[in-house]
């Protein structure tokens, strides 16, 4: 007699047993399994809302793979991408580079949880999560590989995390700790709860809508397909966090506070650029701020409250930064665009009117920067990229490794701190706080400036780009229109 699924599933997913030859602490040592170390009795209430079997998982994933391949066959060729707006393609290049190898690192994080997670249902769900992340690695690599022979910037889909480009250093600094170095408890809270529930699950919904708006059915299908996986394995997060809150609430709060800020900066760059600058203005749905307010602020704050946690202590600073941070980083990246692997768009009058409407509290401070940059293009003329490009080295935060763009143009919040005989600079108070919580973990890492000062990286910008960041003239970022905008009147 064959049992029905629901008759055997609980037995399969809850397959824990009492150890006879070793202790539980030896099977799950705290150094690997994470803290707080609790006996299994404390974890056995783990319930994942969406239970699945391996057979169901394979069937569902196979269906999703077929859908992605069908769309790829229909609209995933070079000529399909060549029809898209180059501005949007820059958003694709940015996203494609930061996504797949981070997902591959998440395979390892999930597999650690699949072995050392403290309940068998958690371990099973994490195993599915590992398989998900493997897929999320492979899909963008497959889709973008086709495009490399047309546009070398797509090569950064694979190259990015292997490079010493400043964005890659920042992304690696985050992803290595988040996905490779975290124990399963910290991984569940940092990745499954904060990153996936708080940020990326909803980001994928927003990005797929944008992709649809610009006519990029391939990218839309890819992120939708990935998002459905994320929604499933993200459920590990609240289940683990609830147990940690019950036994060590202060630690739970500290992890949430740390990881929300750690992830916010890179998220603001990747998503903020796409939503407010790299999607052609006619196709923008909502501003990054509106997206953050609706999907992250409200929902994440509600999730925290349901778990009995407070908003992070820096919440006011975080809310203020939604109005400014990604704008400042975009202006920095635009004026140092040869240091990245995608092209950037100069905001024109329509863009700036839209941004003023969406960011009334801060745009007056930001707009003069674009007035100045526009004047430089007018003076120099099209194709004179380096006349509208910075040459002086840029400062980087010792924690997040991103450019020093905290605060506002009138009041940059960067702060120098001396610790153990060495100088550090932090772009914000939360970055300084995270460092101070665990200087032994972060203190030895060198930002780009420290590498230059120590002779490990060249100080000359062109040498830095070519020999250290791994960029070449054909691949480094330029103005997406090479300064040839219809609205840009010549004198």
């Amino acid at each position: 007699m064959v049992l029905a699924r629901d008759e055997w599933l609980d037995l399969a997913r809850k397959l824990d047993w009492t150890y006879a030859y070793v202790t539980e602490a030896e099977v799950f040592p705290e150094v690997v399994a994470g803290r707080p170390w609790l006996p299994h009795a404390a974890w056995q209430g783990f319930r994942e809302p969406y239970r699945t079997t391996y057979a169901d998982y394979v069937t569902n994933q196979h269906g999703k793979e077929l859908a992605v391949h069908a769309v790829r066959a229909a609209v995933g060729k070079i000529e399909d991408f060549q029809r898209l707006d180059p501005q949007w393609l820059s958003a694709v290049k940015l996203h494609a580079a930061t996504l797949p190898l981070a997902e591959f690192a998440a395979v390892i994080g999930n597999l650690r949880a699949a072995r050392f997670g403290r309940d068998s249902a958690w371990r099973t769900t994490a195993l599915f999560g590992a398989l998900d992340e493997l897929r999320h690695t492979q899909i963008p690599l497959l889709l973008m590989h086709e495009l490399v022979r047309w546009d070398r910037q797509f090569d950064w889909t694979h190259r990015f995390y292997h490079s010493n480009d400043w964005v890659a250093i920042a992304a690696r600094h985050l992803m290595d700790e988040l996905l490779l170095a975290s124990d399963p408890i910290e991984f569940a809270i940092a990745t499954n709860f904060v990153f996936e529930t708080g940020f990326t699950n909803l980001q994928f919904v927003g990005l797929s809508a944008l992709a649809r708006g610009v006519g990029d059915r391939m990218f839309e299908t890819m992120v939708k397909s990935i998002q459905t996986d994320e929604a499933r394995h993200a459920q590990i997060g609240p289940a683990v966090l609830a147990t940690v809150v019950a036994h060590d609430k202060a630690y739970a709060q500290r992890l949430v506070d740390k990881w929300f800020w750690r992830q916010w900066h890179l998220f603001a760059v990747v998503t903020g650029f796409a939503m407010d600058y790299l999607t052609p203005v006619a196709h923008r749905k909502t501003s990054f701020k509106e997206f953050m307010t609706e999907w992250v602020l409200d929902q994440f704050a509600r999730s925290l409250a349901e778990l009995g946690l407070e908003r992070p202590w820096y919440w006011d600073e975080f809310v203020a930064s939604i109005d400014c941070y990604h704008h400042m980083v975009y202006a920095a990246a635009y004026s140092y665009r040869a240091t990245v692997w995608f092209d950037l768009a100069l905001p024109g009058p329509d863009d700036r009117a839209w941004l003023r409407d969406k960011y009334p509290a801060t745009w007056d401070e930001l707009d003069p920067i674009w007035t100045r940059i526009t004047e430089r293009w007018r003076t120099g003329g099209p194709d004179l990229e380096w006349y509208v490009h910075g040459t002086t080295p840029v400062g980087f935060c010792s924690l997040c490794q991103l450019v020093l763009c905290g605060g506002t143009p009138a009041h940059n919040t960067a702060r120098v701190v001396d610790h153990a005989g060495r100088r550090y600079i932090f772009c914000s108070e939360p970055c300084a706080w995270i460092f101070a919580q665990d200087p032994g973990r972060y203190g030895a890492h060198k930002d780009v400036i420290r590498r230059i000062l120590d002779g490990e990286a060249p100080a000359n910008l062109l040498e830095l780009l070519r020999t250290y960041f791994g960029l070449q003239p054909e691949s480094w970022g330029k103005d997406v229109a090479r300064g040839r905008y219809g609205w840009l009147e010549r004198p």
């Binding site: 920095a332 400062g395 450019v403 120098v416 100088r423 000062l453």
Partner: protein, 79 residues
């Protein structure tokens, strides 16, 4: 050479400039304004502030007490 983090009021980011001991605070202001010129038009009259104190523009970098990786701010002077 003394590397300094510089922030020009109105700019989007901080930059790093290398100064010699004997160069002046006025030289520093000039170099930072030049570094930010792509984004912020240079102003005719500016002050340099470090550790909350406005520096004497004729003082040398060393004389002003600046050391490696200090933060300095270039702010417009009131008209």
């Amino acid at each position: 050479m003394i590397p300094l983090y510089g922030f020009v009021a109105g700019d989007a980011l901080g930059v790093v400039v290398l100064m010699q001991d004997h160069e002046t605070v006025a030289d520093l202001a000039l170099r930072l304004q030049h570094a930010a010129a792509v984004r912020v038009a240079p102003r005719p009259r500016v002050s340099v502030v470090a550790h909350g104190v406005t520096l004497d523009r004729d003082a040398t970098i060393k004389g002003a007490g600046l050391v490696a990786l200090d933060r300095v701010d270039v702010v417009p002077e009131a008209p």
